[in-house]
Amino acid sequence: VSGAAGVSRAAAAVPAAVVGTSRPLGLAFWVAVVAALLALELVARLTAGGLPSLGRLVARYLPTPVLRAAAVAVWLYAGWHLFAH
């Protein structure tokens, strides 16, 4: 039983070892993600062709009303989870 508990503890420690446990590190990661997404959008808008903007990707890969409604539902749930509840 103690062996199983040890394995379980080790498995639980893996995610923490990968992403770390320092709150400033988490903030830095998420700011970097937002910066990367904004940079992609900016480059797409400033350069014609090549890199697609987010709007172009949405039009390309979510072209039908059903797919678009599903994406909006996911977006609404994410906002509700992150900011309201």
């Binding site: 639980a12 949405v58 039908t64 977006w75 992150l82 900011f83 309201a84």
Partner: protein, 158 residues
């Protein structure tokens, strides 16, 4: 819709999103103001995006010599596929991090997006603004109308 008018509307929308996000970052989670405010912001953004899409569609015949957007759902070029892969890579890294942060042991800080927005108010405002921007894009991007799809276009003579 003239380009100048479009630019003014875009700047006004961006300013409104920044102000709203700064205000929203002070809403306590699970409070009435947070729930009503988040829902109202979502509805407003979707309505603004839909209005933008309608205006662009109405103006399309007059300015269709150089279309800014491709036909919705049309075939993607190699450059566009590489660009899409870049977007996808950033999104996948973020999702992987969030899932790993979610399953960290209970006694350790969880570095999820949700926990980070709770812990840092400026980041909450930034994330809220990005969320509203994404909603605007989802509502404003052109939608393929029924009967105007790829298969129908293929039957048309070249």
């Amino acid at each position: 819709v003239t380009p100048l008018l479009r630019r003014i509307a875009g700047s006004a929308a961006a300013g409104a999103i920044v102000l709203l996000s700064a205000w929203a970052s002070g809403w306590p989670r699970s409070s009435l103001i947070a729930e009503v405010g988040t829902l109202a912001s979502a509805v407003a953004v979707l309505a603004a995006g839909a209005a933008c899409r309608r205006a662009r569609t109405a103006a399309a015949p007059a300015t269709s010599a150089q279309p800014a957007e491709p036909a919705p759902g049309g075939a993607a070029g190699a450059g566009e596929r590489i660009g899409a892969a870049l977007w996808l890579a950033v999104a996948l890294v973020a999702v992987a991090w969030d899932l790993l942060a979610l399953v960290t042991p209970p006694h350790r800080p969880h570095l999820t997006l949700s926990a980070t927005t709770l812990g840092y108010r400026p980041f909450h405002a930034l994330a809220f603004a990005c969320w509203l921007g994404l909603g605007l894009v989802l509502a404003a991007a052109p939608v393929r109308q029924s009967g105007s799809g790829r298969h129908r276009r293929r039957r048309l003579p070249a």
